[in-house]
Amino acid sequence: MQDQELRRRDILGECIAKGLLIAGVPMTPAHLFALYQQTEAQSAQPTPAEVLGPFFKKGAPNASRLHKPGDPGFPLKVVGKVLNTRGEKIPGARVDVWHADHAGLYDVQGYRYRAQLAIGESSEYTLETIMPGHYPDRPAQHIHYMITAPGHRTLVTQAYFATDPYFEGNPDKNYSKRGIVSNRELIRTVKLFEQGTARAEIEFDIILERV
């Protein structure tokens, strides 16, 4: 890894020396070098994809509160941002989310636990819902996502919970059990809050790739 980084430095130096990388606005060669290297280092991989599954439903409401008062289930908040691979905000994204109820069943007749969020300039989103149950044929708790944004590749993915009994307290070891979860990165740490009642929270930023 360190060798690769050294080699990248050399190549970058070569590029500047040969005029293959030039400054678009006035800056010193040292600044050009540093800025390029820094920006490249910040670029992130797009969020890993997951299967769409059979229960996506078009036309869900633009509402960040998915549950109703008195719904059974562990209260859950999901917060996140929609970013590009350089970590910049992507305004104008649409985020479809859908998940099973506390018993693991999807509402296929209506739009319970389904939303299509229109994300504004802030590129941030919040969901207030309950912890999904275990759908018996796919027994890891998950929230489905489909994210579209102008100029970016549509991403279909899922968020999982590190506390899920399915991972037996060891998501690093057990995430790939039965081939259900494609990538450890999609399993999120659960934060617990107490504000009158308990509420779980996960962060799920979404990184989209440019097309």
Binding site: P46, P48, A49, V51, L52, G53, P54, F55, F56, K57, K58, G59, L105, Y106, V108, Q109, P136, D137, R153, T154, L155, V156, S182
Partner: protein, 265 residues
Amino acid sequence: MSRSIPSDAQVLTLKFLDDGKALAGGCTDAKVRIWDFKSGSLQQTVAKDQAKHPLTSLLSRMAWTNASGLEAMPRMPNRQTGENFVHILDGSGKEKFKLAAGIGGISVIGFSPDGRTVAAGSYDTDLRLWNVSNGELLRRVDELTVSMFAMSFSPDGKWLATAGVDRIVYLWDTATWRIARKLTGQPEMISALDFSPDGKRLVTGGFSELTAGHPVKILVWDLASGKPTLTFDAPRQVTATAFSPDGKWVAAAFREKQIAVHAVA
């Protein structure tokens, strides 16, 4: 009257052969078994690499048409992009067209009876129709809000029946690709569908929202009234249904080591 045909492997797909004298089933061990329909005795077991059309389509999710000898094969080459393609292959296996078909996987695919049109439903809930002679997208139908799991063209090609998550059978007019009728009454999601040979009836098989292992119903519908006329029990998700060519029987597979056969005349 009902009977069952025993199988030594679980059966997933079904097709009547030889004017209904034989019934072929694609099994979970990647072999096609062919039974004498009347006696229920096993005639032949065909391994995947030995299978020829139309048996090959019983072992994969591709479609084949004897009208033009073409194959339609769904593919998702890259999991990260999730993009679906339908490859149209000629009789020698040479690719004619690679058709972009939405995202998330192809849930169902089939040819029109004249072999000129291929229809594919995607888990993004859209239905796409292509002219297979030039690869032209004839229509992207985006009216459905949920996925379809099963489709069947009427034998005269005038109707396409689709059904899936919302328990409704949609009858599409293939001249306009508008919904002509909706049939409701299946108590579960619908995962299998077949027109009768005279085009006057339909058979549908259920898929419980609870799990694939929950019991469901098989319904036979009269299209004149739009009502189910016969109901049979199935022990778990129905993966395939087929009318016999004389219209007197319906066979159903449900991932078990037997095929159910019901008299429907």
